[in-house]
């Protein structure tokens, strides 16, 4: 298990783990890592970047997966993802010449919808691709904020530009680092 994950992220992550992970061996770690790489459903909250706020890292084999994981990391701070029923749908289309700016804009949209429409999301069907510019089309599934139904966390005020990074790795996968103000 990645160090520094929050309860919500841990539970989300744990759902996807092989059953026998607790009897862990080097071979199983290797298998798990391979499994993790294939599924890419992880994100982790980072230590050492900010004390008052939260920083996270999210990755994916392609942009759609990385954007999805970054969205889950953002929503996972505001509520336990398992408690947000995917019963309300929003669609979204964004374009930007810069992939970092597109990610920033997308995450800001989640923060906007949390306040303007009191919506939190737990499932994302995303398609992010590059044509002339970077294009995102998204289907967001979630529910209205309700403390009696959801285990709420902390309010995300903004997606900051502090230490904000988006990069493509040698194996063509994508990784981002985001600091959110809470």
């Amino acid at each position: 298990m990645t160090a520094g994950t929050t309860d919500a992220a841990f539970r989300f992550h744990a759902r996807h783990l092989p059953r026998q992970l607790h009897k862990i061996s080097r071979a199983q770690i290797f298998i798990y890592r391979r499994w993790e790489n294939e599924h890419m459903t992880t994100f982790r909250y980072l230590e050492g970047i900010t004390e008052a706020d939260y920083a996270f890292e999210a990755s994916g084999k392609d942009l759609s997966e990385m954007f999805t994981n970054a969205a889950l990391a953002t929503e996972g701070l505001m509520a336990d993802l398992k408690t947000i029923k995917p019963i309300k749908k929003k669609t979204l289309g964004l374009t930007n010449e810069d992939v970092g700016k597109l990610l920033h804009e997308f995450l800001e949209e989640l923060v906007f919808l949390k306040d303007a429409e009191t919506l939190l999301f737990s499932k994302f069907k995303l398609d992010v691709k590059k044509e002339k510019v970077y294009m995102l089309s998204a289907e967001l599934l979630g529910d209205n904020i309700d403390a009696t139904k959801q285990h709420l966390g902390i309010d995300v005020k903004a997606i900051t530009l502090h230490e904000f990074k988006v990069e493509q790795l040698k194996d063509k996968s994508w990784r981002c680092q985001v600091v959110v103000d809470v």
Partner: protein
């Protein structure tokens, strides 16, 4: 652990990082040996970045509660001269524009309140919406939101949320003049329109506190503020401008990133994006920022109106006879135009306070008559376990720190670490054993705010007392808390 040898010690509690490289001025830090040794390394880097911004005057300052932020450190103060290309920076104010503190007194004592504390905290929890995306109980039209943005707490009093005399007891009388709501984006309006009167989450809280006689350090001033009898109950509110202010900051950070090249400004951190104060962009942000500040003054005004209602319900008396008067309201995330003498010359400076409180001394013309002899009240919120302080500002603060002081105790541990050390429900039980009853919208959020995640507030206060920047009046201990 910080290597203090790199700093020059100016006095017992004042340290200086010499000007080097691109820095226009040195950086100065307030702290005892312990505070300085424990200071987060990032703070030194971030305040040095601030010292590189155009038009900065005298020194970039760090208060003793400083900890790392983004762009400016939290607890950072910097003043810029518009006549020397001085800038205004959203990152020097923070996303939560006019996040601040308000303190309310009562005529009740702990003996009267303790038996009803659960009922009281629960009523406060019901009356004051808190937590992620909390919606308020004041339904505003767009036109009313514009009025709130331009009139601040005055709009609330006009519309029945408070008493006329409340306004005299607020920094800037609860309204920054010349706010211009035409500068506000549609997104900010949509984020803020339903949130007036809400607490938010994170380190925001509403706390029932008491002033024990042994914790009163200046009886005369305490009495002047209405703290007159032993173990008197007070109520402290910590919150800001909610989604409205957060969006205004986000909007202008983006705009400023795009205009810095035009003004040949280079910053070391994207969160330091800024524009010359006297540029059209700088003025637009200044006007919009003042709208958010006014929203925050109004937000705290509606909250204390609802606090008064909660007390009326629980104690079956009207708020007037319960003596629910405001002691003061301070902004600790703000930029303001203030006059200071720099090298013998009087200048109008744009003073940025990010996690820092104004600390004006006696006789300052900006203060209402009621505070002319005492200096302004400085409200410093501690962690929900350790207690808070009421202090007063001094003339020395006006001479040395652009009239600024600390705002809280300052974090010393990350939120993730805090949650690994304690579970929220356990913390709630532990606090109950200590006589502090808490209701929270989120257990994980509660754990993040555990007392051990913060610096020792007494050490922070002691620093500014030794420095002569602010003078303690009373320490307040919690007995009940509503946590967003």
């Amino acid at each position: 652990m910080t290597d203090l040898k790199k700093l020059k010690r100016i006095s017992e509690v004042l340290w200086e990082m010499p000007q080097e490289g691109d820095m226009h001025v040195p950086a100065r830090f307030y702290g005892t040996d312990k505070i300085m040794r424990d200071m987060d390394d990032q703070v030194f880097k971030q305040i040095a970045n601030v010292a590189c911004l155009p038009g900065i005057q005298t020194a970039a300052l760090c208060m003793p509660d400083a900890h790392s932020g983004y762009g400016f450190p939290i607890g950072g103060v910097a003043a810029f001269d518009p006549e020397e290309g001085g800038i205004i920076s959203p990152g020097g104010i923070g996303f939560d524009i006019n996040c601040g503190m308000r303190l309310l007194k009562t005529n009740l004592t702990i003996k009267e309140v303790q038996p009803k504390i659960k009922e009281l905290v629960h009523q406060l929890f019901l009356n004051v919406p808190a937590g992620v995306g909390g919606e308020g109980n004041v339904a505003l039209t767009r036109e009313q939101l514009r009025q709130v943005s331009e009139q601040g707490a005055g709009w609330c009093v006009k519309n029945g949320y408070g008493w006329k005399q409340d306004l005299e007891r607020l920094e800037e009388y609860g309204c920054l003049k010349d706010a211009d709501a035409s500068k506000i984006s549609d997104r900010a309006i949509k984020r803020g329109i339903n949130q007036l009167g809400t607490l938010g989450s994170g380190n925001h809280y509403l706390e029932v506190q008491f002033a024990s006689p042994k914790n009163i350090f200046d009886e005369k001033i305490a009495k002047h503020f209405g703290i007159t009898h032993p173990d008197q109950i007070l109520v402290m509110v910590h919150c800001g401008s909610r989604g409205y202010g957060h969006q205004i900051c986000s909007d202008f950070l983006k705009d400023f990133e795009g205009v810095m090249a035009k003004y040949k400004i280079h910053v070391r951190d994207r969160e330091l994006a800024c524009a010359p104060f006297n540029s059209p962009e700088g003025q637009a942000y200044h006007n919009a920022m003042r709208c958010a500040a006014n929203f925050a003054f109004a937000n705290r005004q509606v909250i204390i109106h609802n606090v008064r209602s909660a007390f009326e319900k629980v104690f079956s008396k009207d708020a007037e006879s319960l003596g629910l008067d405001i002691i003061y309201d301070v902004a600790h995330n703000i930029a303001k135009l203030e006059k200071y003498k720099v090298d013998g010359k009087k200048k109008d400076l744009v003073v940025h306070r990010k996690g820092a409180t104004r600390s004006f001394g006696p006789g300052n013309p900006a203060l209402a008559k009621f505070y002319q002899e005492t200096g302004q009240p400085v409200i410093v919120g501690g962690s929900m376990e350790t207690g808070s302080y009421l202090l007063v500002g001094t003339k020395k603060a006006e001479e040395e720190t652009f009239g600024s002081t600390m705002h809280g105790s300052g974090r010393t541990m990350s939120r993730t670490q805090a949650k690994q050390m304690v579970k929220g429900d356990q913390l709630q039980k532990d606090m109950a054993k200590k006589g502090i009853y808490v209701e929270a919208t989120s257990f994980s959020g509660l754990a993040e705010e555990a007392g051990f995640a913060y610096k020792d507030i007494n050490e922070v206060i002691r620093t500014m007392e030794i420095a002569g920047i602010s003078k303690p009046v009373v320490q307040l201990k919690p007995i009940g808390n509503v946590k967003g």
